[in-house]
Symmetry: D2
């Protein structure tokens, strides 16, 4: 008899087929990795639309941009709020790409739901259970970032709050954990992606920008994420990273993002799929 | 010239006298350590009132009890909510002691403020900035727990959100951080208490229950906390820990709490005060 | 003017060309990733030679096997010692592949140097400075594992002990760091590989076996390691992992190792090389 | 039936009476906390003897001083070696106090054993099993520091190497673990002291100097250590910390050490003893 894990609905023991989450008409969880790109913070119309157009041309599938910004210090730029959501809607209108942004407060979910194609739960809110319960009733998919000190099981239990409350469109996002190592902003736990693929049917993507905190490491972290089976990437892009109001050091400029997209060569992903099959074959023989 | 730290209002560089926070008529931050005690979760009237009476007799200053419960799993007991706040009010009416409880959602602050003498921000919500901003406008003091992976500076910046928003009655609470060591539930960072006393004018207390996760370690952790200069303790007490709906293994029973209070011998705290003076003297000569 | 880092000899600021380390006639640090494989502990002649023959057929470049075993408990199997080194020599004679094994004590270096083609410093000995100083005078290359709580800079400073003492043939090995996450044995810090490639001219490989502690995760971790630019892998293989005297749960059996080698498809590594070039191009434009 | 832990000889399940370790004529593990003090590195005769005389006058029981120095960088001062041991012997001759120093290499144990009253295993060598096995045959007691990323169980298993090899005079030393928090040099895990007292019959002391890395925090950390039941302290003292060749920022000067000793008031330790009894009473009723 199969033991039921505590994250019963997130587990693949009760649901063996992989979940595909639809964000607008983009599918996350299928064979082709999905690329989400855009600025950390939405600063103004020009910054956002310039970025949105460029990442679309480069091949991005979804636009990201921060409207409500969780900032360690109250003296840092706190985001444009609803105005940011409106600008994101304009970016969607112009590019035709779906949009995702973080929501930090259950009181903002109605507004965010009206504007966005996917709502993000930030790492520091992964165990904000009030927010999770509200998002469980939301009609839009949720991008659930892993908390900086959350175990894989706690993360899947946070997803369970969404699933048990009725929202089955959950995408997980590994963005690095906090460890003793300070050379990078966080420690990207890429093996956690492979482990989640063993434990859960939910799709999972990787945020190489927050994980590394260093622009120069984003391309190699992205390649490794795809190689390990991530269903996508969420990457910070800014027209002028050196002037960004937040996270400049980890943001790619438009040309760098375009180069990265070329090097990822996502059209030919058959080797990854076969790799996953290899793994399952290996598992089944052990 | 003195450098202003990023947590300008929480720092003692701009305000050198220590802050005393009044919770009802109890003062936190003065010479006498304050003891907060009560059950992890409020389960029913009898459980709460039995505990409240007993901890009062044993010498506790403030009653604690969880009404809104942040639980890792959605399948665990989620707390009685508003009904729990009402029961806490009854406990205050009967014992005359002020009451504190956690609030997890900005939408619940109005109700909580009406019932409670102090509102607690739980460890997992330390960087729930929406909640912090709402509590900054609250008329009641706030007990701000350190996040399990928060640095001291991030913790003081979370306090800064409260201070800059207008609430000057902030009490910090060290409750253990998450490390590689799993023998205890968390790693109690007692030196952080001493460091906070160097950096900030805010009072700080210690939670030995969550820090250790083991009943048998609560008394020694409590003694060490007082010795290092903590302004108080918050301790989980339950009439029948083995039947508790949450945190039983770390809860003291009524007799154990009474024994602990006797061993702490808080009436004679002059040695601690002189110790703090020694430290300042040492500092001033370096 | 370029600032000289504290790890002057390990840094690529003073030596820009990448170091190639020759282990027998195998080169580590060039375009083709090098695969080191073999049992965690050498248990007997048959176990070692069976494994050695099989990993050679599967395409491994170097044979590994533990003779001196660092074990957390004194009651665990402590290794065959010198007899293990002799069996490894036999494996080299039969397969023609070079051999590597860990040495734990400066007093054993003479003997180990006589038998082995490369000497390994284990993770727990990364800051065993007596051992490092002795190995600095050794004529054979050194495989230097990262300590479980060592920062990248401490690791490069450990390499500096070898370099400044005269041994320029140093290969670094990322094998996972210790964090709060217990789902895997360690947390594989793959981005550290990319960061070391930015900071140092030394070759670096990855140990997916110790990093994950789970056989099922070794293949995906291996693929990600190659994708991020690792110069090779060191993988634990055992004819019958379920009977292994150490590290059975993370060891591949002979067939699994063969499958992994096929899926890695190391003959065609041009995409990785071009990826590294892309990264450098991106860096040079920032 | 009582389960035998893996650290059978270190456990108090098989040996219930507490071990007292004799260092010269000083007893570690009894009612009175033992104070070990002296410079991080022995720099020259005058520095060592000045310190030794002063800490004796202030009430220290044992002199410490580093002769073989484990240094992260090969370019840092590496210690005086045997000459340092000779100077320590002179300090003993002049003060009459026993002496302790670190040994890093099994090859140095003979010499160290001839000079010292206790041999220290440094944190980075806690799992240097070759060294442990050699020290197991040593006639002198061993001070075993906890590794910066060692669990309590791994630490007790390192002690087990000494006990099973025949050396029953083992003193444990908590010196802080490595965590994400960088405000202090390490995170002092004081509750680990209380937990070790529950698990083992071995005496345990605390190193507040390495744990905090900040002179100003040493007095409060020392008081908390004594309060939680530590059998002693090992404190770095230097006549002129600002000129020290190592660890200056965490060393007390002679006057600061004298003030600390007065504030600790170790002559009257009855409250600690009764506290430990309280704890055992509480435990026995649970």
């Amino acid at each position: 008899m199969t033991e039921i894990p505590t994250f019963a609905l997130a587990s693949n023991k009760l649901k063996s087929e992989r979940t595909i989450v639809n964000v607008g008409d983009v599918q996350i969880g299928g064979d082709k990795p999905v690329i989400i790109a855009g600025p950390c913070s939405i600063e103004n119309r020009n910054q956002l639309l310039t970025t949105a157009r460029a990442v679309k041309v480069a091949g991005a599938d979804i636009i990201r941009g921060g409207a409500y910004k969780p900032r360690t210090s109250p003296y840092d730029f706190q985001g444009l709020g609803v105005e940011g959501l409106r600008l994101l809607s304009d970016a969607r209108a112009e590019t035709g790409l779906p949009i995702v942004s973080e929501v930090m407060d259950a009181r903002d979910v109605d507004t965010a739901e009206a504007h966005l194609d996917m709502l993000q739960v930030g790492a520091r809110n992964m165990q904000n259970f009030s927010l999770l319960k509200r998002l469980a009733e939301c009609s839009k998919p949720v991008l659930l970032k892993r908390g900086p000190s959350a175990t894989i099981k706690e993360w899947l239990l946070a997803a369970e709050y969404l699933l048990v409350g009725g929202n089955e469109s959950v995408v997980l996002c590994e963005r690095g954990i906090r460890t003793f190592e300070t050379e990078m902003r966080n420690t990207l736990d890429l093996v956690a992606v492979a482990r989640v693929l063993e434990l859960s049917h939910l799709p999972i993507i990787v945020d190489p920008s927050h994980a590394t905190g260093r622009r120069s490491l984003v391309p190699s972290a992205s390649r490794a994420a795809i190689a390990i089976g991530s269903h996508g990437l969420i990457i910070e892009v800014h027209p002028h990273p050196e002037q960004a109001l937040s996270d400049g050091p980890q943001s790619l400029n438009l040309r760098e993002f375009s180069s990265l997209m070329e090097s990822l060569n996502l059209r030919n992903m058959s080797h990854v799929t076969s790799s996953v099959n290899d793994r399952h074959e290996i598992l089944s023989t052990v």
